[in-house]
Symmetry: none
Subunit: 189 residues, 4 copies
DNA sequence: AATGAATGAGGCTTCATTCAT
DNA sequence: AATGAATGAAGCCTCATTCAT
């Protein structure tokens, strides 16, 4: 069975994305997992600690996975973009938009931690920028004359916004959404 | 000079977008504007009233303006898209992402109010869907075989995400961002 | 009738001397005065604010009164000592040993406030040192060859310890205690 | 090397004198000694047990030592006073004012324990009263017509207050302070 | 001898709100 | 139009303690 700690982290991700950091109380978390408030503190020391644990839980895994895609020398830039979109959308579907959580809520972290996570966030974004660069090099027209950072932000905006409106019971599956996003971006018909 | 009420609404938009509804307290708002907590309540009756005022302040104006664009029979769908992007980005730049605020925080409204605002929100989105439909009719390839609702969400995602990362002192002006977004979506080089 | 604020300060002095700062809770204070915990915070902003109010309430009055004794040019040093002992013992009897509270608990104040109060405390002690200096000048033998600061500390020790053991229903009245303290110090029989 | 138990008692004395009983937590104690909270409880059963251990550690030793001074038939009362002052000041310097801890904090002990320790405390004070009685008998003038209990309290006040202001790096050594206290009390020049 | 998991009670504080002015 | 007094509910956190290991 899943450890209390893991169940807490999962519940925290779910709640904080849905209700925002400030809108999520330790009591809610405790109730969700079926333990006492004190036990939540026992594991995370403080509310900030919960956010920290989420981020610690997210970035190492996500960056690693994305990096293997980006560093793969045998596939094209557009294929990498396609794979990234699948990866990111799966992430959004599974654990909500942890990335937006990162951006929106790192303000609640102490200076030191905030720096670390901003850095990791930039690293994550940087990997997507690399994909765009590769596309700009390989393709004749896609993303030509575009600011690569802006394209990256556009892509993340598209994907992350999904957290807000996506419902599993809706008409489109997560992979269909990823497909269509890919088509929109790559100008496929 | 701006009325106390107007200063309160502006401050409320700023704070609630930055810190989320739950993360913004009446005390903060009072301090920001330099009046007492009691006076804030005096104007809005309750915290929910503040959110209400923001929405009331936003939708009628925004919907009206967007509608004149959409209903204009003499311009093409792509041109409408371009104009919408300018309009939306200006909105985001000026008063932050009120739309995301709407989506994220209407949960704090009482049932009746929530319904009203969800409806207005859908109306706003619907206007953008109409633009996409016009494009699908006119153009040979753009947005062909795409779910028009998904395209709409993709566009809003792109635009609204700007609130999170856009800094006026950054390298791109708001209208340049709108331009590039238009190019990305319309597959212009 | 006494204001809520004044009643709170009096109750706080009483409780904090009896139970120490850490041992006194805002809830106790509220109950003692018959109001809610929130109201205590309403007046003092924080627990530290209570300590601050006590000190602000004590020092200006005490220093002023002691200063008029010390600056009186027409009375002898020993007479000043006698008067100080009466004054200090009355203080101790009335409002407990606020001075020891100051010394013991200023650690709970923020740096800035702590400095201010340490300074005032030194000023208060300094006035007693002046009395001892006058005695050393006038008298042939009393306090000769003694460290004036140590004598001062000895006197305060004697007086302040009273808070711990003095009971109004005990065999000695406050003025009798002051009298005997004076005799012990001045070597009167 | 010192046993964990002994290190805990030492740390507890230090912390509780500095921060008061209520202001000292088991967690602090654990951290100070570098072990876990559970281990502290393991040794003392409860927080009250810590106070108990301190007192048990203090009184038997202190009373025994003071008694040998008081019962010594071959020395004068004033000499006994002098020796007591040395003894008491050394105690204060070494382990802080455990006596004041006793008076201030025995309130936190259960009824039975409180009785025992109040009794021991009275016994300790009684030994000093005996010294004063001897002085009143032998000397012609010292402490004549004074309430012997009040004199005792005055002496303890002087000595115990030292805990609050004494700093090893200050201008006076512990034995010099004892000397001057003796002179002040015995009216020596 | 020593510890981690878990908790209930309580402490400080924030907060939205009511009321009287 | 604006505010201070007062509060109940809730939030974060500390703490002493129990239990199993």
């Amino acid at each position: 069975m899943e450890s209390t700690y893991d169940r807490l982290v999962s519940a925290a991700i779910k709640l904080m994305i849905e209700k925002s950091y400030a809108g999520t109380s330790i009591g809610m978390l405790a109730e969700e997992v079926g333990i006492s408030k004190s036990t939540v503190i026992h594991y995370f020391k403080s509310k900030e600690g919960i956010l920290l644990a989420i981020l610690e839980n997210f970035f190492p895994v996500a960056i690693k996975e994305l990096r293997t895609v980006v560093n793969n020398k045998s596939i094209s830039g557009t294929e990498k973009l396609r794979r990234f979109l699948y990866f990111q959308m799966k992430l959004v579907a599974e654990s909500g938009d942890v990335l937006t959580l990162v951006i929106r809520e790192t303000r609640y972290l102490g200076e030191e931690h905030r720096k670390i996570y901003n850095q990791r966030h930039r690293e994550y974004e940087g990997l997507v920028v690399k994909i765009i660069e590769q596309i700009q090099t390989e393709e004749t027209s896609l993303f030509k004359n575009k600011d690569k950072n802006l394209v990256m932000k556009a892509i993340f905006g598209m994907c992350n916004y999904t957290t807000i409106w996506y419902r599993p019971e809706g008409p489109l599956r997560i992979d269909e959404i990823a497909d269509q996003f890919f088509d929109i971006l790559s100008c496929n018909v």
